[in-house]
């Protein structure tokens, strides 16, 4: 029987900041973000060199706090400039790439740089963002082109622009794209990241938390954000509630007991005779694995996040 996946990647919130913005970096360091993305690609071209030069110090500062550091680059970055980003503190490169050839080119570049800097080859991941309809359709070929891809995202607004629509809250206009990358990511054993769709009527902070929670239901494990407050909301949304955790534990206990007794389906105690089976055991193990991984991450970061069903717990970093 399939065992539970152990999650090595917990990046519920990927907080995007400029490497040249010291106050933002300080706020990111003090936040609950699981990961910080040093956004070199978002800098004006005249500031890119300075941004890349700022990466080492920023990465060192953030990684000491248990934060996963990622660096976002674009196609225009020169090989010698990217070399500064290849260091143990930088866990992955974030890039918008839309073809297998583009991914392979970055993969080979990263390998050359890792070897040059004495790092283990393939130690730097790729957090991949798809921005075109073709890329969504070709996602399997893209994921097959480099196994250092650690997570997969879509740029919703770029896809909408290409299709000539504007995203609203009446229907999930990107249901196809979301579903496709979740399934493709699962096929390749990597995480898909992104927000789910919540039909209209939800606004403000509740929207983000609700979209994250919906994303978790569909299989996403995190998303990009732009403020420490958003990071906190994403962490909450991508964490299971106490009820969900209790239910998963109850299913696991009941089914494992049943299996020991040679039974493949059991009635869940205290659930009005609801039947649970092996598939639900697999699901529950997955839930509990994610819970364990999140707990480990938060212990590493020195805090525990708010429980969506219970009383809020103070969030802070020592």
């Amino acid at each position: 029987m399939k065992g539970a996946t152990k999650y090595y990647l917990v990046r519920r919130s990927k907080l995007v900041v400029s490497p040249l913005d010291d106050p933002a970096l300080a706020a990111a360091a003090a936040s609950a973000a699981d990961a910080v993305v040093l956004d070199v690609a978002g800098l004006a071209s005249t500031n890119r060199a300075a941004g890349l030069a700022a990466v080492p110090a920023a990465a060192q500062m953030l990684s000491r706090l248990g934060i996963d550091v990622l660096v976002k680059v674009d196609g225009a970055v020169a090989e010698e400039s990217l070399e500064e980003c290849i260091r143990p503190e930088v866990r992955a490169i974030v890039a918008e790439l839309n073809t297998p050839e583009e991914v392979t080119a970055l993969d080979r570049l990263l390998t050359r740089l890792e070897v040059r800097r004495g790092q283990n080859p393939f130690s730097t991941g790729i957090d991949l963002i798809l921005t075109s309809a073709n890329a969504v359709l070709d996602v399997q070929a893209i994921l097959a082109s480099a196994w250092r891809i650690c997570s997969l995202n879509i740029d919703e607004e770029s896809l909408a622009a290409e299709m000539g629509v504007m995203l609203g809250d009446r229907v999930d206009q990107l249901e196809f794209a979301r579903g496709r990358i979740i399934i493709a990511a699962s096929l390749f054993g990597i995480q898909s990241h992104g927000l789910g769709f919540v039909k209209g009527g939800v606004s403000g902070t509740e929207t983000l938390r609700a979209r994250a929670a919906m994303g978790l239901k569909f299989g996403h494990k995190g998303a990009f954000c732009s403020s420490p407050e958003e990071a906190r909301l994403l962490n909450e949304g991508y964490s299971f509630t106490s009820e969900e955790i209790d239910h998963a534990q109850a299913v696991k206990d009941a089914m494992e007991d049943g299996l020991r007794r040679g039974i493949g389906a059991v009635a869940l105690p205290g659930a009005g005779g609801a039947m649970v089976d092996i598939i639900m055991l697999t699901t529950s193990r997955g839930v509990l694995s994610w819970v364990d991984a999140v707990r480990e991450k938060e212990e590493q970061r020195g805090y525990s996040s708010a429980n969506r069903a219970g009383s809020p717990v103070a969030v802070g970093v020592e």
């Binding site: 978002g42 921005t131 075109s132 309809a133 073709n134 969504v136 359709l137 740029d155 919703e156 607004e157 770029s158 909408a160 622009a161 290409e162 299709m163 000539g164 629509v165 504007m166 995203l167 609203g168 009446r170 229907v171 999930d172 206009q173 990107l174 249901e175 196809f176 794209a177 579903g179």
Partner: protein, 282 residues
């Protein structure tokens, strides 16, 4: 390519319907040699087709001819001319079918002294395989200028049994439209660089036009990325032409983004600019 928000389908042998269709000012008229014609009337319709096409050309109404299928050789021979905007071909279920059709049309064009490849094709995807292979079909030939979601016949193909079919009729299909599969078509069309035409959540079957539902269906289709629809109803033309324009509330929202770009992501601003450009283009 000109806007194709509303294509009005009429029987190819019905001059009264053709005149009425012209008066409705659709983006294009579709002379149907296929499902709306009784088989016994098709031969006569083919014979008189060139005259009807010429009459419509004189009125500057873009004219398509809907043939019986990709293997309807008689229909293709009757329809291919320099005066039509293109063909609408139902039942295309594979890239191979499209390539075979492409070769057949090239032969006809050569015989008539027309430039090779000048006859455009709108692929009507009305079967499960057609929808599945949509991307390959759209990319199989340079002639493919659009793809159409043939919702009605697709439903029959999917449902299969005769007992289920009666539950489909009417303006609101009673089987759930799987939006994952159907929303795939605009993605495929976008990737192929052609528009996707079609409606979700309703068919516009003869005698079942319901304007309220049609307006909602058009808005829903637009949101998913469809750019127009094929209809049999004169009254539906204006609804489609309006509904497949970028909605006013969306234009306003897009303008507010473009006017304050610092508040939005670069891709969000791009999205807004694309919406405004689409509004102006139509």
């Amino acid at each position: 390519m000109a806007a194709l928000r509303a294509l009005l389908n009429v029987p190819a042998d019905d001059d009264v319907a053709i005149d009425r269709a012209t008066a409705a000012s659709p983006d294009a008229i579709v002379l149907d040699l296929g499902w709306s014609l009784h088989p016994s009337r098709r031969a006569a319709a083919r014979t008189r087709l060139p005259g009807r096409i010429a009459r419509l050309a004189a009125r500057v109404t873009p004219t398509y001819v809907r043939v019986g299928g990709s293997d309807a050789t008689d229909d293709l021979n009757a329809a291919v001319s320099g005066s039509i905007a293109g063909l609408i071909v139902p039942g295309v279920a594979s890239a191979g079918t499209m390539r075979t059709l492409d070769a057949q049309l090239t032969d006809i064009e050569r015989e008539r002294g027309l430039p090779a490849g000048s006859t455009q094709v709108i692929a009507l995807l009305d079967t499960g395989p057609g929808l599945w292979w949509a991307r390959e079909i759209a990319q199989a030939s340079q002639r493919v200028s659009a793809v159409v979601l043939g919702m009605g016949d697709l439903a029959f193909d999917v449902l299969g049994t005769s007992e289920e079919i009666p539950y489909f009729t009417g303006p609101m299909p009673r089987f759930g439209a799987p939006t994952y599969n159907l929303s795939r078509l605009p993605f495929v069309a976008t990737a192929a660089g052609v528009p996707a035409l079609g409606l979700l959540a309703t068919t516009v079957a003869p005698g079942h036009l319901d304007k309220g539902h049609l307006g909602e269906a058009v808005r829903l289709a637009w949101e998913f990325g469809f750019k127009g629809a094929l209809t049999t109803h004169d009254d539906a033309v204006a609804i489609c032409q309006t509904g497949f324009e970028v909605p006013d509330d969306v234009v306003e929202r897009a303008r507010s983004v473009v006017m304050a770009p610092e508040r939005y992501s670069p891709s969000g601003v791009r999205q807004a600019r694309a919406a405004i450009a689409a509004a102006r283009r139509w």
